[in-house]
Structures are given as C-alpha cells and as structure tokens.
C-alpha cells in the first residue's frame, strides 16, 4: 500500500476515534491554593468526569492534615453529541503542621473499575499574625536574561468584598510569557473560625533586558460593604467603601547570558529543563515512517522553540508543530512541550537515530548545559515501498519527498518568461477606453456639426412659430429640422440630400420638399400640417 494512502487511512481512523478519546474518564484533584498557614482550612475538589461513581472516594490519611467531606454535586455536559456526567466531591482540609505536605491521589470506584486521581502538594507556613493585607512581587530578585519568573499577588481580607480591582506595576524589561496567560482566582479560607477572602493572581513574565530594574508598586482596590450605623433606618441600597492597598516597590537584577560555553546551536531556552523521547515502533518497512515523540519539561518558556535539525543521508525528517502546555503550580512556572518528528528511512537495515542534544542555559548552575535524548535503534525492513520510493517523480506520487529529498515541491521545469503585455496596466487602460473614446469623439463631432441641444431648441421654436400657417415659416422650420438631422446648414439643403435620411422618413421628406417648393405658387394649407409633423418627428430622433 502506498504511503500516501496509509497516511490518509491513519487520519481517517484518528478522526473516527477522536470523539471517544474526548469522552475518556478523567479523575482530577484540584485545590483552592497551594500555600496555607498553620491552622487554616481550605477546599479541595475531586472531579470524576465520564463515569458513574459507585461509592464515596476513599479519603487518604495524611499526617498533619484533616480531610473532611463537605458535600458533592452532579452536573452533565454535552460533549461531541453525548452527555458526559461529572461528579465533584468537595473536601475541607485543615493543617496542623508546617512544611511541604503531599495529599496523595484519591481512589474512586466506578462502574468500570477503580481510578486514582493526581496528587497535590501544599506548603504550610507559620501564621504571620496578619488577617488581611497584600503581598505582591516577583518570585526572584536575581534573574538571567530570558528567564521566566512569576509575578504573584495574594490579597487577603476579612471584609465582605463586593468587587476587586488590580492595577499591575510597570514591569519594564519584562514581556508576558506567550503560552501561559495571567491566572487569577478568588476563594475563601477558614482561619481559626474566621472566613478569609483571598485573591490570588499569577502572571508569568520573561526577562527580556538585562540591568537593574525597579518594580513599581501594584495596587489592589477593593470595594467592601460598609457597616450601617445602629438606630438608623436601613437603606435599601448597599453602603460601600473603597479601600486601596499598594504593594511594596522592589528592585530586581537581570544579568545578560554569558558568552562562555555558549554554542552556535544554543536553543534559546533559559531554565531548568529535562527531556524524554520515545519512538513509535522498533521496526518499520522501507518507505513508511515512524514517529519520534520528544517531551521537554521545565520552568522556562518554550515559546518559539523547535527541535534541532538532524542531517543524515539514511533518513528524512518532517516536523509537526509542537504542542505547548504550561501553568503556575504553587507559585512556580512550569511548561511542557510535546514535539513529534516523522522519520522516513531511506535504506533497509538497522538505522541508528542519533540523540538530540539541546543546549539550554541553567539559571541554577549559572552556565550552559546540554540536555539530550538517548539514541534509538530502528530496524528498517525491505518493504513494498522500495520501488515506489526509487520511482517517485511522476504520476500522482508524493513527488516532493522523492525528487528533492525535502518537503518542498519540485521546480517548474516548464517555466518561461511571461508576456510584458499582461504585466502592464497601460494596454488594459487603452482597451477599456478605446470604445469610450469613440463615443466621446462622436459627441464632439456632432457638436462641431451644429447639432447641439440649443440648435434643437431653436428648431422647435421655429416649428411653433410656423403653426401660424405662414408658408415661409413652415419652409424654414422644415429645412431647419431636416438640416439638424443631416448635420448641414438649412440653406445648403437639396432634394438629393434627403436620401440620407433614415428610411421611415425619406419618402415623406422628399414629397414634402417637393410640395413646399410647389406651394410657393399656392395650396399651402394642405402641406403645412404634414411638413410640421415631419419636422417634429425628425427632431425626436435626437
């Protein structure tokens, strides 16, 4: 089977199975926050999507934490034409020790078996004694150019908040990270029996200019409901008050990346990264492809990153656009990129796919380091594609691969110089205007010949006067009308010239001309009406 049809078949099968994949079971554990103070309680949420839960999930036991079920709710959504049910269990988590505590995955029993959720790690600190206030700033004061940092905001208050507002500081020298957008969340904590309202905002930023940078204060504005004085009649409108909380200004130093150790193949990535790779299959027939999947994870931005090229005569590579994910977990930026590279061997036998080496800059080490995949061994079997691979280039074969050995299509060998004519606008203008020029010239010509609208008006006036019956006036009007039509002067009009009149008028005109000439000797009354009628008809032609 040709490679082309195999690819089509693969796409078709993928398309058929896509809806099913969307309906896969998902068990996810999330929390309001990942930073707590000793004695605080927060909510965590276990969501089960696409399955019927048969019994309440087992709550794991964790030292220093008390986890209590506080309720659950059901919801359903229409996904790809099918209804998908979601059950969300809500738990209240209270801390009794400080430090980093991991809540292990919850086990959920469903009609199709047991599933385990992800785990969550939370940091528990000593209480700072403040029940409200604003903390904002970058998570590091010393950075490298290109490093990704998080500007975090956490505001707490015991007031009844009606509306929040956040005015970020001027962060000159920083650019928003392109994959992970600003993230904000509002929630409530139970702190020693008091309900604390919390606003958290996380903005991933990339340092783009070196030097010392002043970070100006950001401002949180809250609109809270004001207490009403006792004894007064209660207003039907809520009384509000606006409070403003500025953050502390700070300074951050951004260092330029060193030149030492920087190779020409530096990937541009700044952060701590690790890489995993896998090959879709260990053997392949000649002419078919295998997919090398590369997963890069780290705490720096992956925006704009592409896999380094590998040049080898034994195989061709075709890269797909990478899929990039990311987020802020516990105040730290994390990102993952999944890149897929199709590899098409060009010879049978064992093929060693060399390791991919990516140079990144490690802020922790303060130097350039290499992260790399391992080598892969691929057994290429002689396949049915051999002849087709060698015979690419004509017919409906995917000639782009064969003729050039790359992913662009071949040159047009029939290319030739074009016509200067069609690449110019002037000939087109000539073509468009020529008939209209003819029209304009015709109009001008008729104007020069005396057939002007004013002349027509004059002839009409003559016809009007001739209606009195004066034979001289009738003759003058007749001559003027015929001359107007023929484009000559009335005095130059002769009997022979009447042959030039349009057919329907010619004979009548000749007859009337003769009668007018004869009427000089009497009998004018009979022809007056005919002559004037013909004159009027001739005028109507124009």
């Amino acid at each position: 089977m040709r490679l082309y049809f195999k690819v089509l078949l693969l796409l078709l099968v993928s398309a058929l199975f896509t809806p099913k994949l969307c309906l896969a079971v998902e068990v996810q554990l999330t929390s309001d926050t990942q930073r707590l103070q000793l004695g605080e309680a927060m909510g965590i949420y276990l969501s089960v999507v696409g399955e019927t839960v048969e019994s309440q999930p087992v709550i794991p036991e964790v030292d220093g934490l008390t986890i209590q079920l506080s309720g659950h709710r059901n919801s359903s959504v229409n996904l790809n034409g099918r209804r998908s049910r979601t059950v969300t269990f809500t738990y209240l988590v209270r801390t009794s020790i400080t430090g980093s505590i991991t809540i292990p995955g919850f086990t959920v029993a469903t009609s199709n078996g047991q599933y385990v959720s992800n785990e969550i790690t939370i940091d528990v600190a000593e209480p700072d004694g403040e029940s409200s206030g604003l903390q904002a700033g970058l998570d590091s004061e010393e950075l490298w150019e290109g490093q990704t940092v998080v500007y975090g905001v956490r505001f707490e208050t015991l007031e009844r908040v009606l509306q929040w507002g956040w005015t970020p500081p001027d962060l000159i020298g920083f650019a928003p990270e392109q994959i992970v957008p600003e993230f904000n969340r509002e929630f409530e904590l139970d702190r020693n029996g008091e309900r604390v309202k919390v606003l958290e905002i996380s903005t991933p930023l990339v340092a783009i200019r070196s030097g010392a940078r002043d970070v100006s204060p950001g401002v949180v504005t809250v609109e809270v409901s004001a207490e009403q004085k006792r004894g007064r009649r209660r207003s039907m409108f809520t009384q509000t008050r606006r409070d403003v909380y500025p953050s502390e200004p700070s300074t951050v130093s951004v260092y330029p990346l060193p030149e030492e150790g920087r190779s020409q193949n530096f990937s541009g990535l700044v952060g701590e990264f690790w890489i995993e790779a896998s090959l879709s299959q260990a053997s392949v027939s000649l002419g078919e492809s295998v997919t090398l999947s590369v997963r890069i994870t780290g705490n720096g931005t992956l925006a704009g990153f592409v896999l380094p090229e590998v040049s080898d005569e034994l195989f061709q590579t075709y890269d797909q656009a990478g899929q990039l994910f990311g987020g802020v977990q516990g105040g730290d930026f994390q990102t993952t990129g999944v890149f897929q590279r199709a590899i098409v061997p060009s010879a049978a036998g064992e093929l060693i796919i060399p390791q991919l080496v990516i140079q990144v800059f490690s802020p922790e080490a303060g130097e350039f380091v290499d992260v790399s995949t391992g080598e892969f061994s691929l057994m290429v079997l002689p396949g049915e594609q051999v002849e087709q691979v060698q015979g690419f280039g004509d017919g409906d074969s995917p000639s782009g691969v064969a003729i050039q050995g790359e992913d662009i299509l071949p040159i047009h060998t029939e290319a030739a110089l074009g016509s200067s004519f069609v690449l110019r606008v002037k000939p087109a203008v000539v073509l468009a205007l020529t008939p209209w020029l003819f029209v304009v010239l015709s109009v001008l010509s008729s104007k020069l010949g005396g057939r002007t609208p004013s002349k027509k008006v004059a002839v009409k006036a003559m016809i009007k006067v001739a209606k009195s019956g004066d034979m001289m006036a009738v003759e003058a009007a007749f001559r003027a009308a015929v001359a107007f039509e023929l484009g000559c002067t009335p005095s130059a009009l002769t009997l022979e010239m009447l042959d030039s009149l349009p057919v329907p008028f010619r004979d009548r005109a000749v007859q009337i001309y003769s009668e007018i000439t004869g009427a000089r000797y009497g009998g004018e009354g009979a022809i007056t009406a005919d002559a004037l009628q013909l004159a009027s008809d001739l005028l109507e032609l124009r």
Binding site: I408, L409, P427, S442
Partner: protein, 251 residues
C-alpha cells in the same frame, strides 16, 4: 473613427509578444537539478531582472533559495510568485512548508472573505478582466446609440446585462488597482537576517520584540534607512532596512 479604433486594437495585438522560453531558464533549471542552488538562484534572478517574470520563475527561484538555506528570501520569492500566480497550488504548499520552518511562526493575514476572488485572480488579471468589461460596455453603448438613431426602442432587458457587466468590472478595477497601489503605500516584507530587534525608534530606543528570519511583516514607513514595520499581535517598531526584503512583484 472606426478605422482609428481598429488601428488601436491592431497595435495592441501586435504589441503582444508570445510567451518565450529562454536558454537562461534551462540553464538555471539544470543548475538546480544538479544541486547548485546558489548558482540556480542567481540565474533565475538574472532572468527575472531581464523583464517579464512569471510566477513560475519566482517559484523556482524560491525553491533554489530555500535549498540554499536562505529561508527569508525564499519566502519573499514565493510570496511574489503567489502574487503573480495565485492559483498555483505548488507555491502555496511550499510557502506553507517554509512558514513552519520560521522561528516566529507569525500568523499571516489571509484575504478578506469579502474579496474572495483575490485568492484566485492576480491583480493584473483583475485589471484586464475589468478592462474587457468596460470595453464591452463601450461597444454596447455605441451599438445601442446606433439602434436608437435608426428608430428602434431600447428594450429594458438590455439594462440588466449592462449592470451585470459594469458592476463586476468596476469592482475588479478597484480591487486590482488597490492591490497594485498598496505595493507602494503599504508593502509587505520578509526578514532575511537570522535575528533582528524591533526598536521603539529608528536608531536606538528600547527593544520591543525580536523577529527572526522568515518573519512576514507589513511596512508602514521608510525613513533614514529604517522601516516602520507592523506585526499582528506584536505591534509596530523600527528595523534596519537591510534586514528586510521588500516584496515588489512589479519591480
């Protein structure tokens, strides 16, 4: 008058040279097929500069430049080819492939849906189609005026074909002309250097963002060796003129 008209038409017809093949093109093709991509690109360029280039020639030059590792110039060449031959699927395919190789992966503005014909008719073709339509209208006007002079009435139904030809002709005229004029007023360009900083002012200023080879940009202004460029989603800024290849299919 009629003699003059036919003389003009004859003049136009005689001035139309047949499509010709050139030994230089064959030589450039041979260089390409032998793997001498730099020489092939140079020879295609010489043929193009000799006048009357076609989309095919720009396409072949783009292929040579791409194979020679000059991604930005290849994209510029294919963009020019696409301007001249918008219906050529090979150009679109190679351009799409090349864009995947760019580091910035900028989204390229496609044609406005209301101007759907632009994806299949080149600006020159639009002008010519429009000229044919306007010319046809002129002939129709002359014939109708003759008929009126002979005393025949103008049937109302003849107004409809007049509108049906006239309105599309006018639209094509405006569309084609605006595309050609925009090459001067708001040309497009492609970054041809490995990396260039887009600054807030011409010679200096802060770096707003970086662009890399193959990034396709719109140029708003040219002053003192710097171009004011605009990139969708990133904003405007100045780059050195030498870092950008300006697309000009008419030049």
């Amino acid at each position: 008058m009629i003699t003059l008209f036919f003389a003009l038409l004859l003049n136009v017809a005689v001035a139309t040279p047949e499509t010709v093949s050139s030994p230089s093109i064959d030589s450039a093709n041979a260089e390409f097929l032998n793997g001498n991509y730099e020489d092939a690109a140079q020879q295609y360029l010489e043929v193009i500069e000799s006048g009357n280039p076609t989309g095919d020639l720009y396409y072949n030059m783009g292929n040579s430049l791409y194979k020679d590792g000059r991604l930005g110039e290849a994209i510029a060449s294919w963009r020019t080819a696409q301007w001249l031959s918008p219906r050529d699927g090979d150009i679109a395919a190679n351009l799409e492939m090349a864009r995947l190789d760019t580091r910035d992966r900028l989204s390229v503005r496609s044609h406005n849906a209301a101007l759907f014909w632009r994806s299949s008719v080149s600006p020159y073709e639009q002008i010519w189609l429009s000229a044919c339509g306007i010319s046809l209208l002129g002939f129709g006007f002359i014939l109708l005026s003759r008929r009126r002079r002979l005393g025949y009435e103008l049937p109302f139904s003849q107004v409809l074909p007049t509108v049906a030809v006239g309105v599309p002709s006018l639209i094509l005229l405006l569309s084609g002309a605006s595309q050609i004029l925009s090459l001067d007023s708001k040309p497009h360009g492609v970054v041809i250097v490995n990396e260039v900083s887009v600054n807030s002012s011409g010679a200096g200023g802060v770096i707003l963002y970086e662009l890399h080879e193959g990034a396709e940009i719109e140029i708003s202004e040219n002053a003192n060796g710097y171009l004011l460029v605009n990139v969708a989603g990133l904003g405007s800024g100045w780059v050195p003129e030498s870092s950008v290849f300006i697309i000009d299919p008419t030049g």
